[in-house]
Symmetry: C2
Subunit: 345 residues, 2 copies
Amino acid sequence: MIRDGYGRSSTSRSVRVSSAHTTPAATAPLTPATLVGDELQLVERRLAELLRSREERLTDIASYLIGSGGKRVRPAVTLLVFRACGGTNLPDIVDVAVALELIHSASLLHDDIIDGNAVRRGRDSARHKYGVAETLVTGDFLFSRAFQICGRFDERLIHWAAEACIALTEGEIMQGRFRHNPQVTYGDYKEIIARKTASLFEVGARTAAYLARADDAVVDAIARCGKHVGLTFQMVDDLLDVTGAEATLGKPIGVDVREGNPALPIVLALTEDDEVRRLFAQAELSEAEVNAMLVRLRRPSIIEPGHRLAVEHATIAREALHALSDSPYREYLLGLIDQLVERVS
Amino acid sequence: MIRDGYGRSSTSRSVRVSSAHTTPAATAPLTPATLVGDELQLVERRLAELLRSREERLTDIASYLIGSGGKRVRPAVTLLVFRACGGTNLPDIVDVAVALELIHSASLLHDDIIDGNAVRRGRDSARHKYGVAETLVTGDFLFSRAFQICGRFDERLIHWAAEACIALTEGEIMQGRFRHNPQVTYGDYKEIIARKTASLFEVGARTAAYLARADDAVVDAIARCGKHVGLTFQMVDDLLDVTGAEATLGKPIGVDVREGNPALPIVLALTEDDEVRRLFAQAELSEAEVNAMLVRLRRPSIIEPGHRLAVEHATIAREALHALSDSPYREYLLGLIDQLVERVS
């Protein structure tokens, strides 16, 4: 797990939402492209603008990552929430969506260094292609750009964004503490993914509602929704790393097992399977051991409760959305939450 | 060169200004400890507060670097400029000084990864002690903390700080372009150090004058002063890497020669010494070649013009300070500028 957040590459192809890859149908079905397509285009344009640097290399490396078909899940969710809350002032929310995507991208670049990832989004990682030094600096560049954009917002908003950035770093360190550590509990796991994955979803949702001038109670409900969408997203990602097919996912499976990450199926299996405990504690696994562990993790006694936990969080996210009145945006967000959990079942 | 800025470890022991290491004399000589000692203590206290994290490891690594006797040159200069401009509101300027020190520290941690430094400030670098992953994440943590503090300031100030952070990254990449590259000109060199070292000095000075409510023209003059102090500082550092004694500097010399960095003496020698050109272009140098190059770089025909260039920038910095009326703070800053260039002569 945890290839997203402080840099996780999600397995989810089915929730690709970037308008660049979606053709609006004549019947205008509910998709981000029909609902917030113009806004997403503004996001793309602003992103391209902000990747420009006096040093071409920074632009190249940043574009290599950001232009490589990231799903823009975070900007889309942020924009949909903003519209669902009745927001109208586009430049503000576009900048917020862009800032969050920049922070997310910076964390992906740094994560490639931390994990030594050779592959990201189906091709060479930036680290593999450009080396550690330039990849690290490009991450810092993107982070600085996000910081620059945030300058025009009020203190509260900057504080939320900075808190989310701090949570990313604290999540990364916490995950490190529990790597190969069979003492990890489900509570620890939830705290790690809350910091590493859910924090940016939460701040995106909170900020969108706030900028749409929603009431404080609504802002809090929407932030809760964002947080639980993030938790669901990560739990599903963890389950797919065990149950998914490489062909469908477009990336290797079993990454968490190989890296000793405290991912959902592993954390659940640790309480009942001594062999999983033994293998998880090992610093290195042979391919045979990886496969043996995957077989154990694919048991219904692990996957089914794992899925139920993801559904629980999806339900909390859905319920929080009822703080808003009905709209096509809200309807789409509800559908998106359903899609998230349907990926595993 | 360029171990400072995007993470340079300065050779200057003589300008140590941290109040923690200075005993105020009964006659109260002009030192930061007597002039802005209380302010520097507030900076230390606030730094300690901001290094706290939910993850002890982040606090440990950050404290390891920041507590290891950094010279606090940037906070001291920032505080002195603020007082020299008649500023009185301490919490603001303390937070700015702290934010800049956090950004500087983040860049030192990342620089240790980029350059593979095993030693920093006379002991194991954080990277050497804690490894790449945790050192990188701690840099991001410190950067996020700086971002968090800046939230309470107005847009213009955040914009300046973000621009300085962007300049650090662009300077790092630009330096990389000219490493081992004999095409590098003096103009390129100045641009690199303006971005990598002078940018944080400039933004510190600009912000201090701005927060002290100085006139726009004074703010610009003070920013110019900060920039040229930074340029001087770096040029002197580059000269000392060639002419200094390891025992006095407390660190190895010849680092720029070994790493192929476009440092001042090298850049000056390139125009007149074919052997320096040849050696600088080589990816690796033997110890005999390093020594041969150092001998060539120590010639008066290199060091003297190098020193004159540093003095030129020091003079610009001094002149800019005359935008302010006389005060002990201004007097000390003028003395500090003199000290900078006296280190080489």
